[in-house]
Amino acid sequence: MLDYLLSFLILTGAIFTFIGSLGLARLRDFYTRLHGPTKATTLGVGSLLIASAVFFSTRGEGISLHEVLVTLFLFITAPVSAHLLSKAALHLRLKSLAALPEEAVQKNIGD
């Protein structure tokens, strides 16, 4: 029973991580590509970590909670890197499918 649960979690994790990476290839500009890795992967990595926590906690060597920390740091760092990447892209005026909000960019970057 436990094996099925673990396999289910690992498969879900693998599928979502794969879809996130697929987004990099399928989407068409830098800004939309950012969405794949920042989101589809949180659930992907999340279920892999839950699987890991369950696996190591049920081996009779005490509860394993390192995974909670990994999740915490992941949820803190993933959005920050996405934010900085898109900020850098705005500075470089990368080609975008959506109309760039010229006024806001001008005022806020001011170069």
Binding site: I19, K39, P79, H83, S86, L90, A98, A104
Partner: protein
Amino acid sequence: MHRLLPHPILAPALAGIWLLLANSLAPGQIVLGLLLGWAIPFFTLRFWPEAVRIYKPLTLLRFTAMVLLDIVRANFTVARLILGNPQRLRPAFVIVPLELRSELAISLLANTICLTPGTVSALLAPDNKSLLVHALNTTDPDALAATIKQRYETPLKEVFEPC
């Protein structure tokens, strides 16, 4: 009190993180964790100029639960959009005017926006008055900005800023 314990909330949080890292609840580890939680804020005082105050802990709990649910939903939404036809996506930049003034609350809001359905925060105005958000697929940017304000900004404002 203020001098001896500059960050009453950061200290137990750091202690908790230490216990998770050590993966044990031995008394020695608890003491060490509390000691670290007390000492580290002194070295990072310049990074956290103001002590964090939580005015409504219950609202914070409800907010966290809601964001976790939204993260799961966001994953399905984005997965569907990626697997669908990329030609049909309607990406857009949306400017969200901010009412939040606390820096921690603004960074939490930007973080939340990145984790929730179809949006990435892209640029914070230097005066902290508006946030530029990139949406993966939207037909109504104004409605999106209104949703972000009402769903995420209002609870954060209640939690971190006195009414």
